[in-house]
Symmetry: C2
Subunit: 182 residues, 2 copies
Amino acid sequence: MPDARTQVLDAAEDLFYGRGIQSVGVDEVRAAAGVSLKRLYQLFPGKDALVREFLHRRDERWRRRLAEFVAQRDSSEEQVLAVFDWLHTWFSEPGYRGCAFINSFGELGAVSPSVVSEVRAHKVALRDYLGGLVAAAGRGPELADHLLLLVEGAIVTSAVLGDPAAATQARTVAAALLVRPE
Amino acid sequence: MPDARTQVLDAAEDLFYGRGIQSVGVDEVRAAAGVSLKRLYQLFPGKDALVREFLHRRDERWRRRLAEFVAQRDSSEEQVLAVFDWLHTWFSEPGYRGCAFINSFGELGAVSPSVVSEVRAHKVALRDYLGGLVAAAGRGPELADHLLLLVEGAIVTSAVLGDPAAATQARTVAAALLVRPE
DNA sequence: GGTAGCCGAGAACGCTCGTTCTCACCGTTC
DNA sequence: GAACGGTGAGAACGAGCGTTCTCGGCTACC
């Protein structure tokens, strides 16, 4: 049995990701976590803090899973392409609803600076991670920028159209960029 | 002096795009439009209808402006690249906050089917438009899919990072895809 | 000029939500 | 055994929101 804090965060992640942050009330998170309201407010000073923690934890887990998947490939070129294979399995998961960070940015980017900084940190970390992959393949950081565009584009397109095919399309473009330096 | 309906829609677009839909109350739209609440509810049966109209009108205007800009170029290849030039000027506008449709999808995609269909229609229309451009350049619809990924990726990345550079990066990739069939 | 309909301004209503307070209950400690 | 600190369940509070209602005034028409 996990501790109350992770129970709350698990419930918050399910609900915030699945329905949006403003559409989910604190009491619903409390009920899903099986925790009293008093305890929840002991663990988190307010909904804002809960949202920040939700984003922070999701960032770490998301990037860890991606990195673990990619690290299984041998060559550095294969590792770059594996990013898009992983995206395809993610897009195919039931309940996939795009990127929690892009969604949160669209919802709260104009009213919550802490959300903005969390989203920005996530995207910067992803770009840096891609930068490491392409550097290992002997390529410069411009390629990481280009791959980031493809990743973000695939995430958004697959979510809106409800079709994971964007991942394989992005992989095709990435492969073309890989074989031939521009 | 425009009629009350367009005044309301103009105000709604400013506010909904700038701050998010759920963060803006009907009364704030009413005040910005300089219209009585009674009149607003005569024109639109409720906030949902106002949101739908906001998205619908923004879709038409956005795609018209893009098409007008692109049509000024002569060759079909230049027209494809002009898409990204136009994106760059859009990203540089003050108050740029990403794509209203992506933002609305993130905010309400899980709770409002009408928003989902509006967002999906917008992206499909954009893909079809790109399909027309690449067909004129003698290329197949796969290139339109790839360009769509670049466009969406540039929109999201520039919004989150607050930097229009993603447009020129996407343009570079698009140029590489254009010169050489994969 | 009077009356009837319409309109703007804003109060009111009902609901939701984030947060705090109340209170009964339980385990621990002197 | 009694006082006590902490807990869970949920009521309460205050604010905000979408929507509707009220009322006073203006306009148009006979």
